[in-house]
Amino acid sequence: MGADVIKIEPPNGDEVRRAGPFAEDRPGIERSLLWMVLNAGKRGVTLDLESEEGRASFRRLVTETDLVIESFAPGHPSSLGIEHEELRKDNPKLVWVSVTGFGQDGPYRDYKWSDMVGLALGGMLYLWGEPERPPTHAMASQAYYHASLGAAVGGMTALYHAHRTGRGQRVDVSMQEMVTFTLAGFGGITGYWTLEGRNITRAGPAINLGAMVSRVVFPCKDGHVAVSTLFGPHFPRLIELMKRDGAAEFLADDKWKSATRFTPMPGQWQCTQEDADVAEGVLERWLQRYTRAEIMRMVREHELMIFAVQTVPENLESEQLKSRNYFRRIEHESLRRAITYPGPPVVLSKTPWSVARRAPTLGEHNDEVFSAIGVSGERA
């Protein structure tokens, strides 16, 4: 979005630098792809906040700063003598964003957190995975992303407020609370308990609407496809296609063309969970005759609401994403290659999003950042 972002690391580097996957699977603090993805577009300096000299440099830096974001355990900055209220005396517009597992107060304040534990106590973990097995997390840390997005929204709001009023403030982000938002906004899932007295449970490849479980993900010949509402307006066309292959089975009965799971409108036929389960079985057997590419051809021709379940190589080849110049490549001179990154999450017409640079190497901008503010920093 155009901000000048300086990443501060301890002298031995952020722990993320030691987390894989690494470029060419060879570990090294300048080879972590996780580091690169999370820190692209920033400048980087090293500072030892455990030392008085480091803290003095930090305080000096903060006088020139609009927003600080930190994710220390609650109370840790204070224990180092870093108080955001103090810093705001010299810089009244300062916005201080704290991202923690559970927030700055309350009985879990001192609980330790991980991405998976954030998902657990935020209510998401319970909803992911297969019904007869333990709940599962995601390969990419989703609870951390929820916390980041909450911090971005809250931080941007506070920054805007500071621009208008000259007054900064503290933004206290709880990962647990941010996860609850992603369950279905402001109460779309807890509503099952408050309004209907039931808990929604994980349903594997299906969506669970309490009184109704609807299969979404179906296997096909070479992977999976997703169907979000089987009994939608496309269902009669889908039945015709199955008929053509002699695979419609009992779905050939005309009543299925007007099937609905909801309260029926005039002319509709309401089918039960049992009916729907059997219908889904017919569809599953039929889809397994085809590859994703073959199914997608039928989808285009007959306007079916079916999508291919894709992975990265297919997204890289997507005509849609190519036409929007979505993926971006950034040069990494030490690796002698460019790396492909996800592109703009949103497209702004007047102030476009960009990745101006790769993630910084350890202490890469110490000289330029520290000399600009007249302090001596760490030498990497």
């Binding site: 609980y111 390969m139 906004g185 999508f307 992975t311």
Partner: protein, 422 residues
């Protein structure tokens, strides 16, 4: 504007911002709901004929008119004022233009090209009001060969690759219990919308924000793209292991049963100290001497056996007691809360995360606060979600400045709609 809700919006960071929400179902409406939490006045415009699909989506309240019972609709539209306007009625369109003149931000999720039919596309809106910010929320964006392909957020879950990252390696892609993208993408849009307002205040220039749910969701797939590009690896779901590409990074890292039906605890051990603490709390001090488990590297190599042993050891513990004991000993652990568990969770209670607010038909809606708490301008629940056409008259009189006679005329002409009226 009278507030029938819990909290006034006077002190919010966005209390000077007017938002017009023309979108439906979930992803678009939640952008407006986030704005409302920070104090914006958000008017939701609906059609009383072509009802928002969310109004028929569960969970359902037991009280009220059928069209106003959806807890799902209420969750997506918490804090808003609601009107019903007929855009295909000449005078209804006149009302709509007065509303867009009032608005700083317009949110919509129509198929690309639709807004132009009513003269509500960005070019027309910005010609009337150069500072306007239009947020368009669609599955695949405003441009490109797939821009007009219809569908729901759930499909984005599959297309983006997210689905392939959740579940068991020997099972199907999962994580579709909810329409996940619908609840993640709005935060990207709200962030961009607030940044655009900041830009407008400094330059007078508004803009069009084109959100593709697909593109936003690929942004939260971690290293999947880079790992494929650099190492040729397609990352895939692997239960609950903490993976770096295709190698476990730490163990034990899993979700283990505790006492009760479908009760689970998540435990993330990332170093030897936490491992020893885990053994201690589980009453298995001898495990620390077992050469198979001595180092993180060794533990990573015996993941399934280790998971089986830990699961056996946690099975008979009370979940809350075990979580507390583990956290006290410095082990990262948390219960997999169900919805009832969330509502009873002491931390969420302490943070006043859930807030009851008066609802016109149900008596009470349980609202929630957005989890980014601003100390001086905190998030608020301004009011419950609107029932259909609830605020027609107030918006006409107080926001748009129509006289009572003018409003009566607009209602009689069908510009403002009421449900069930012809």
């Amino acid at each position: 504007m009278s507030t029938d809700g819990r909290t006034a919006n006077g002190g919010g960071a966005l209390s000077h911002v007017n938002v017009l929400d023309l979108s439906w179902v979930a992803a678009g409406p939640l952008v407006g709901a986030i704005f409302a939490q920070y104090g914006a006045t958000v008017v939701k415009v609906e059609s009383a004929v072509r009802l928002d699909v969310a109004r028929s989506s569960p969970p359902m309240a037991k009280q009220g008119r059928a069209i106003d019972r959806s807890g799902y609709f209420a969750a997506m539209n918490l804090g808003k004022i609601g009107v019903a306007v007929d855009l295909n009625n000449e005078r209804g369109l006149e009302v709509m233009h007065r509303l867009t003149d009032w608005a700083d931000v317009v949110i919509e999720g129509f198929t690309p090209g639709t807004l132009a039919r009513w003269g509500l596309d960005y070019e027309s809106l910005s010609a009337r009001k150069p500072g306007i910010v239009l947020i368009s929320m669609t599955l695949q964006g405003q441009t490109g060969p797939s821009a007009t392909v219809p569908g729901y957020g759930l499909q984005v879950h599959g297309m983006s690759g997210m689905g392939t990252l959740i579940g068991w390696p020997d099972g199907p892609p999962t994580g579709v219990t909810l329409a996940y993208p619908d609840y993640v993408v709005p935060m990207f849009a709200a962030f961009a919308g607030i940044a655009a307002l900041d830009h407008r205040d400094r330059t007078g220039e508004g803009q069009h924000i084109d959100v593709s749910q697909m593109e936003a969701l690929i942004n939260v797939t971690g290293t999947a793209t880079a790992d494929y590009d650099v190492n040729g690896r397609t990352q895939l779901r692997d239960g609950n292991r903490l993976m770096a590409g295709d190698t476990p990074r730490a163990a034990p890292h899993g979700v283990y049963p505790v006492r009760g039906d479908d009760r689970w605890i998540a435990i993330s051990v990332t170093n030897d100290g936490e491992w020893r603490a885990l053994c201690e709390v589980l009453g298995k001090p001898d495990w620390t001497n077992d050469s198979r488990f001595k180092t993180n590297e060794a533990r990573c190599g015996t993941d399934e056996e280790l998971d089986r042993l830990v699961a056996e050891a946690t099975r008979n513990h009370d979940g809350h007691e075990l979580m507390e004991a583990l956290q006290k000993a410095g082990v990262v652990a948390g219960l997999a809360l169900d919805q009832e568990g969330l509502l009873r969770d002491p931390q969420l209670k302490h943070r006043a995360h859930f807030l009851p607010v008066a609802h016109a038909e149900w008596g009470e809606q349980l609202g929630e606060l957005f989890g980014a708490r601003l100390s001086e301008t905190p998030p608020v629940v301004q009011r419950a979600a609107p029932t259909l056409a609830q605020h027609n008259e107030q918006v006409a009189r107080e926001v748009l400045g129509y006289s009572q006679e003018e409003f009566d005329g607009l209602l009689a002409d069908g510009a403002f709609e009421l449900y069930g009226a012809d």
